[in-house]
């Protein structure tokens, strides 16, 4: 077989130094910054660069990362799941109610939690695929819907063992098997970190090595081209929301287990962090599209920065700003520095 290069514009012989620098910055910039920040914190505080602190950082971002994996999958198909935070909150409440109010086992609570996550995904799929509502506003609606539903099923109150329901104390409590998922460890590694690692590997293989992942990326890249290549776009978009809903449900179960109670709105803040992690991930290795490695790096980045700032005694209220700055820099990296964005 002979492959003839017909001198088309693929590889210009030597790009100018500035352009090469921009390309390098685009691909590796974020990783370089992550390493630099880590080195800086390590130099400033000797307790930072230790194995124990690594586990603390990982534990602090485990749930965010899991939820962010779901957001990443929803984004690959060109969607955007804004309901994940409400989903986490809803699952926290549902699992708490299952054990505390209805005295069910931890395993049942997990099953119900996963079903609750799928229910949220089902509403998303219905709105986006069947009703044709644009992703962003459909999932915004779902977000409100399930934030509200979580309040209704608990009469607006937190759910904890010993609470009174209709004048009588609630019959059940969190089982120790269930709380193990939040605070247990395996060989000193916290369970949420293990779950995160497993799900990250599964999500990576799913998106990069299966035909379903390929189809999702095709839809995100050019939905019309995907449809005309015979891909059932509607089904895949529903699948993407199902995966996103399940990831949020797993996050909700882990959060519920860690809290040991059902706090109102406990999962809501996870939306912004998860979306930020997924978007920061666009800038990792010049992917410029949702990707699992990038999302993991994005979540880790957020964890490292918050942990390091806390060690340097920066006030907690600076954290949001720092995360915002991180996100904005990443967005500029992936949307503005893109090689080939020359006019």
């Amino acid at each position: 077989m002979t492959l003839v290069t017909d001198g088309s514009p693929e590889a210009p012989p030597r790009a100018p130094a500035a352009a090469r620098l921009a390309t390098a910055g685009y691909r590796y910039g974020l990783l370089v910054v992550l390493v630099a920040v880590t080195v800086f914190f390590g130099a400033a505080r000797s307790s930072f660069a230790t194995y124990d602190n690594l586990l603390i950082v990982l534990q602090s971002v485990a749930i965010v990362a899991i939820v962010a994996l779901g957001v990443t999958v929803s984004m690959t198909a060109g969607g955007f799941d804004l309901s994940v935070g409400a989903n986490v909150s809803f699952v926290v409440m549902v699992t708490a109610l299952a054990m505390v109010r209805f005295d069910l086992t931890g395993a049942t609570a997990i099953g119900i939690g996963l079903l609750a996550g799928l229910l949220v995904a089902g509403v998303n799929a219905l709105l986006v695929v069947v009703a044709g509502v644009p992703d962003l506003i459909a999932t915004l609606g779902t977000m409100f819907l399930f934030q509200g539903l979580a309040l209704i099923i608990t009469s607006g109150q937190s759910v904890s063992a010993g609470m009174t329901i209709g004048g009588r104390p609630a019959p059940g409590r969190y089982t120790s098997g269930f709380t193990w998922f939040g605070s247990g460890t395996v060989a000193s590694v916290p369970v949420p970190v293990i779950v995160m690692a497993l799900l990250a590997v599964v999500a990576y293989v799913f998106l990069n090595n299966t035909r379903w992942g390929r189809a999702l990326y095709a839809i995100g890249g050019n939905a019309q081209a995907a449809r005309l290549a015979g891909i059932r776009v509607g089904r895949y978009r529903a699948l993407a929301y199902a995966v996103s809903g399940l990831c949020a449900a797993v996050g909700g179960i882990l959060l519920s287990a860690r809290l040991g109670r059902g706090d109102v709105g406990a999962g809501d803040p996870y939306l912004m962090q998860a979306v930020a992690a997924a978007l920061i991930g666009f800038a990792v290795l010049g992917a410029n599209r949702p990707n699992v490695v990038g999302t993991a790096v994005g979540a880790l980045f957020i964890g490292v920065v918050i942990n390091g700032l806390t060690m340097l005694n920066a006030p907690y209220y600076t954290q949001t700003f720092v995360q915002g700055a991180l996100l904005v820099v990443s967005l500029v990296t992936s949307f503005t520095l893109t090689p080939g964005r020359r006019r």
Binding site: M1, S8, T210, R214, N288
Partner: protein, 503 residues
């Protein structure tokens, strides 16, 4: 003519890279004259309109308005010079969500034309004046999106007229209009011309051109080939558009074997006359007709990409009714869409990923994709179709248009394919790649049926065994490739009846 032309264009050229989109184009329009402009896709119509509306600047040449040279360096200059363009896409010209009055008075929002506040009364008064001047009879408070396409277009035209145009350029104004709306538009154009406005009327529809225009200029390959004075016969226009000669056939005409697809009672669009279509294994059926004649509509229905208007299909003797392209692809039907950029190419993806996209299942086990199987398929397509480029992992964008098209066509022949539907497969494809694709299609046609649609009958004749001609959604005839003549095809494409017989 002794009258000074309102607009005169001389020696106008436009070059994009190595290709000339326009070459030494000269034309003039007198006051009150309607000049028609026709040409096939890529003939240079859009480029000419873009230059006259100030969107792009010419490489060379001169434009005069009322005898004075003008420099149309941006759309505002063009408007100030009196050249007003109504573009094909009606909805790009109206602001939906606003009412008729607001849409008619949009110009007043330009800087320096009004105060800070928009007053409802003043807007309505201004709008009423504009509507009356254009004899537009629409409630001023109606939301534009509630109005039919024809009325929305009249609003756009009314607004344009309020700028007192010297020349009105209408770019395919009837492509989204119903027959009744077209009558209204034609009457309006006539009235304007009677008022002394010069009109440049660009259309694919011969009947309108023949009815409305005083003269017709035919563009082909960037140059004006003929200027006809009306009345002119349709076939003469089509011949001038297509460039006459039908080359000698380079392939042997085949009859085909068992029917692969049998379609009865198909319609290109609701209301069009039904047509039957049989495609046999081993034959290549060409479909030709001017832009808007219903080729794409026909092919997309066969592929499930748009709902079947009417009729029944069967594939290999079994009823076939695809709900969506996925169902069609699963049944062994393949489709290459008209717009490669928008409908087939995934930016940043490799050749390999493009090749395997329609048949991911064949390249995976329990869902896991096999890179080796994918690469092998990509290499086969590269080899069979002679794709020139750096190999299976090359980004599709690094390939030339012709090589991209080889990938997009070739990928369907990797695996089970019974019926191959190609919509304008040679558009933006160089001559060499064209010949390669045509040859491969003929080679592979032994086992499958092929339908190839193009508005250029010469492209179709390069591969087809017989050619079906459509005009305005209706089949006007069928010609065997062996005895197709330019004259006959032109007659059929212009809507003439098929006297030649021979199906």
């Amino acid at each position: 003519m002794e009258v000074t032309p309102v607009v005169s264009v001389s020696g106008l050229s436009k070059r994009y890279g190595a290709t000339w989109a326009l070459r030494d184009v000269s034309l003039e329009i007198a006051p009150g004259e309607v000049l028609g402009l026709i040409g096939v896709n890529g003939a240079g119509k859009s480029t000419l309109i873009k230059i006259l509306s100030g969107v792009t600047r010419p490489t060379g040449g001169e434009i005069r308005v009322d005898g004075t040279p003008v420099d149309l360096r941006d759309p505002l200059r063009a408007q100030e010079a009196g050249l007003q363009t109504v573009h094909q896409d009606i909805d790009a010209g109206v602001v939906s969500g606003a009412d008729v009055a607001a849409n008619l008075t949009l110009d007043a929002l330009a800087p320096g034309r009004s105060g800070v506040f928009v007053s409802r009364d003043r807007t309505r008064a201004a709008a009423r004046a504009i509507a009356e001047a254009a004899r537009l009879d629409v409630p001023l408070d109606a939301p534009v999106e509630s109005l039919p396409a024809g009325v929305r277009q009249q609003i756009v035209i009314a607004r344009v007229l309020s700028r007192r145009p010297r020349v009105l350029i209408l770019d395919e104004p009837t492509s989204a209009l119903s027959a009744a709306e077209i009558r209204v538009l034609i009457a309006m154009v006539r009235r304007l011309a009677a008022d002394g406005v010069a009109v440049l009327y660009v259309s694919h529809r011969l009947s309108e051109i023949q009815e409305l225009c005083d003269r017709v200029a035919v563009l082909r390959d960037g140059a004006i080939r003929r200027v006809f004075a009306t009345p002119v016969e349709g076939p003469r226009l089509v011949e001038a558009m297509l460039g006459g000669e039908v080359g000698a056939l380079t392939h042997e005409v085949r009859d085909g074997g068992e029917p692969v697809l049998r379609a009865t009672g198909l319609r290109t669009r609701p209301g069009a006359a039904p047509l039957d279509l049989t495609v046999r294994a081993g034959e290549v059926v060409g479909v030709t007709g001017l832009v808007g004649s219903g080729k794409t509509e026909l092919l997309e229905q066969l592929y499930g990409a748009r709902p079947l208007v009417s009729g029944a299909l069967d594939l290999d003797g079994r009823p076939y009714r695809p709900r969506d392209p996925g169902a069609a692809a699963a049944a062994g039907v393949a489709f290459v869409a008209e717009e490669r950029e928008a409908q087939a190419v995934l930016p940043g993806w490799s050749v390999r990923a493009h090749v395997t996209l329609p048949r991911l299942r064949d390249h995976s086990r329990i869902g896991l994709l096999s890179r080796r199987s994918e690469s092998a398929a990509a290499r086969r397509v590269i080899e069979v179709f002679g794709v020139r480029g750096p190999g299976p992992e090359a980004e599709i964008g690094a390939l030339s248009g012709g090589n991209q098209q080889k990938v997009v066509v070739g990928r369907w022949l990797e695996g089970r394919c019974r019926l191959l539907l190609l919509d304008e497969p040679f558009r933006g494809v160089d001559v060499g790649a064209r010949a390669d694709i045509a040859r491969r299609i003929r080679e592979r046609a032994g086992a499958l049926g092929v339908v190839i649609a193009s508005s250029d009958p010469q492209e179709v004749l390069q591969v087809a065994d017989r050619v079906i001609v459509l005009h305005d959604g209706v089949r006007t005839g069928e010609v065997s490739a062996a005895d197709a003549s330019a004259d006959r095809l032109a007659t059929l494409m212009a809507g003439g009846a098929d006297e030649g017989g021979g199906t």
